[in-house]
């Protein structure tokens, strides 16, 4: 499955192509507190954990990935493969724009793999940690 790809089409306006279609998404806010609007849905999202709240319980079980929301430096990796984490635990500590950004576990999980090192500069949407 191809990951969605986004293109900027205006100030705070993006066209995102995903499987079978494209949508317009508006984004505003600041790191740690992003607001987004798409087709009448409003989302408020902090940086960090890829949120998969699965309200309707339809998500298939599978590895979850954490990635950086913006370019940053990995200050600390707090887990190792095989470690059990609880929802909300900080897994990786990033630094971006002179702020510390904790990436947190979205749910109780086990660390499957770690794909980053302390001191490394990482780009958005690079998988840093895999959870299951």
């Amino acid at each position: 499955m191809d990951a969605p790809t986004a293109t900027r089409i205006g100030d705070g306006v993006y066209r995102v192509h995903h499987e079978g279609g494209s949508r317009i998404v508006y984004v505003a806010g600041a790191p740690g507190d992003w607001w987004a609007f798409a087709d009448g849905i409003v989302c408020r999202d902090d940086f960090g954990a890829a949120r998969q709240r699965g309200r309707r319980g339809a998500r298939a079980a599978g590895p979850e990935t954490l990635s950086a929301p913006m370019p940053g430096t990995v200050i600390k990796v707090l887990v190792q493969p095989g470690a059990a984490v609880k929802k909300g635990d900080t897994i990786v500590l990033l630094e971006a724009m002179k702020m510390e950004l904790p990436l947190r576990a979205p749910a109780d999980a086990t660390v499957v793999a770690v794909h980053c090192r302390e001191g490394e500069l990482v780009q958005p949407d690079t998988t840093l940690v895999e959870l299951a």
Binding site: R8, V25, V27, A28, A36, A38, R51, M70, P71
Partner: protein, 512 residues
């Protein structure tokens, strides 16, 4: 389309040269727009909280009228009259809410030699007493909601009235509206508490604890008729609006024509509305509200109350009839006759309006305030947006949470609903929560789609319409956020401001 007078014609016609708008937000902008089209100078008034509001910049002149709280600014008759005097205005338009139905403003305008764009003060006062309005309508032969307006306002007197009207009954405040000072009485055991509570609330809200009793109708629809009178004794109706989709007596969606009306029923209701307006000696724009029970030609309608002002939902009537009501208000206030010939107007197509409120449906519709980080109005054929906000502006805490109205006009009801849905889906407002997700759920609800709504609709379907949890962030949205984060990170050389956090998130488990 109504004809636009030429410049020469308008200066001959218009006695009003400079109009002060005693209001703010979207309605102030709406009135200013009418002024511009007519070559009338506009004067805006603003409180300290609104110094940078769009209606201030839009007007030809602006006068500061006090601190943020409405009581000290927009609700202050002396400050409004003073502002008219300093700015050299010769007329005042009160908009809706605030002082629109306060006879003191209308009287003060008359005393100051200012034209008040609305009915005479005594008519405002007369219709402002719900008890008085009911009595007038009864004597004019307009059907009223079965009920009683007891002269004996003691607990005993009200109890007897409730017994005669029969439960379920509604205790209502004579001096008010909007659901304040109102209590439903279903069981005998509820009567005493209801009387005390209604009286207390009415006194606090309106300074008058007088109550009357109405029978509680079975799933009524709220259907109102727009009327207009000039100073030459002519009164016309401008057809109806259906406003049954209400939350706690606050309208959310309005439309015209009403899906519940047959031509015969429409004829009876509009005729009754004209009779009512004539009985009241009405001038300028007004609305007769009815409750409708049953369906089809023989449905029963009852006078509920009269609104002696231009209403929020006037845009629905403008759309479906192709007219400009604020222009007509200014014409009539200047002494000109109504600009429409009898029988010349017909409803064409279907118009629906959705009210966008700064409220969070997921948190009990808590009013929101804050800075608009992003705000883009939908621009689509057949879609009109009346808004009082701009990107980067602040939504203050002090005033009514109505941000904007979106009106869709199309050939049929089905097409109008589809058009309104598309418009709301293309209306990003970020920085504060709004009721747009809630509006979309209403418009997509099967009962709304078939026009099967009454005033209990929102309460009945609350669970489906108000999601218990906020929407999860879909992957495609996160993709856009990530790209935006990168773009803004590399674009600005400075560290971004710390997020201020969301004060409302400290409230946990809050449900209305």
């Amino acid at each position: 389309m109504s004809s636009v007078p030429s410049v020469v014609e308008s200066s001959e016609r218009f006695v009003i040269r400079r109009l002060l708008i005693a209001n703010r937000g979207e309605i102030a902008l709406r009135i200013i727009r009418a002024c511009r089209e007519l070559g009338i100078e506009s004067v805006a008034v603003y409180s300290e909280a609104d110094a940078r509001a769009p209606h201030v910049a839009a007007a030809d002149r602006a006068v500061a009228i006090g601190p943020a709280p409405a009581a000290d600014s927009y609700l202050s008759v002396p400050r409004v009259i003073d502002a008219a005097s300093t700015s050299g205005a010769d007329a005042v338009h009160p908009g809706y809410g605030f002082l629109a139905e306060n006879p003191t403003l209308a009287d003060a305008c008359e005393a100051a030699g200012l034209i008040f764009v609305g009915p005479p003060a005594r008519v405002i006062a007369g219709m402002g007493s719900k008890i008085g309005a009911r009595a007038l309508m009864e004597s004019a032969g307009v059907p009223v909601v079965p009920g009683e307006t007891p002269d004996d306002q003691s607990d005993t007197g009200l109890r007897r009235a409730i017994d005669r009207v029969k439960r379920p009954a509604l205790l209502k405040a004579s001096a008010g509206g909007g659901g304040k000072g109102m209590r439903l009485v279903r069981e005998a055991s509820e009567i005493d508490d209801a009387i005390q509570a209604a009286r207390r609330e009415a006194t606090a809200a309106f300074g008058d604890g007088s109550l009357y009793v109405e029978r509680r109708l079975d799933r009524p629809r709220h259907v109102e008729v727009q009327i207009f009178g000039d100073h030459h004794g002519r009164i016309v109706h401008l057809f109806e609006r259906e406003c049954s989709v209400q939350r706690r007596h606050q309208k959310v969606i309005e439309e015209s024509p009403s899906p519940a009306l047959t031509p015969a029923l429409r004829a009876r209701m509009t005729a009754a509305a004209v009779t009512a307006a004539k009985a009241a000696g009405y001038r300028n724009a007004g609305t007769i509200e009815f409750l409708l029970e049953g369906r089809g030609d023989n449905a029963r309608f009852y006078f509920l109350e009269m609104n002696t002002r231009l209403q929020v939902e006037h845009a629905v009537t403008e759309a479906v009839l192709g007219i400009d009501m604020v222009r007509a208000q200014l014409l009539v206030a200047s002494g000109a006759p109504l600009p429409w010939a009898e029988g010349s107007l017909t409803q064409r197509g279907h118009a629906i309006e959705a009210r966008v409120y700064a409220e969070d449906p997921a948190r009990g519709f808590l009013p929101q305030a804050g800075r608009l980080l992003l705000y883009r109005e939908p621009q689509l054929p057949g879609v009109r947006v009346d808004a009082g906000i701009v990107e980067g502006g602040d939504v203050p805490v002090h005033y009514d949470p109505l941000l904007a109205k979106v009106i869709a006009l199309a050939e049929t009801r089905e097409l109008a609903v589809a058009r309104l849905v598309q418009a709301l889906r293309a209306y990003p407002i970020l920085g504060i929560r709004t009721n747009i997700p809630f509006l979309l759920r209403i418009l997509e609800h099967p009962r709304f789609r078939t026009g099967d709504v009454d005033t209990s609709f929102l309460d009945d379907e609350y669970a489906t319409l108000v999601p218990a949890e906020p929407d999860e962030t879909p992957e495609y949205v996160r993709t856009a956020i990530a790209l935006h984060a990168t773009n803004t990170a590399s674009a600005s050389g400075q560290p971004p401001p710390r997020s201020s956090g969301d004060p409302w998130s400290h409230l946990s488990g809050w449900r209305s």
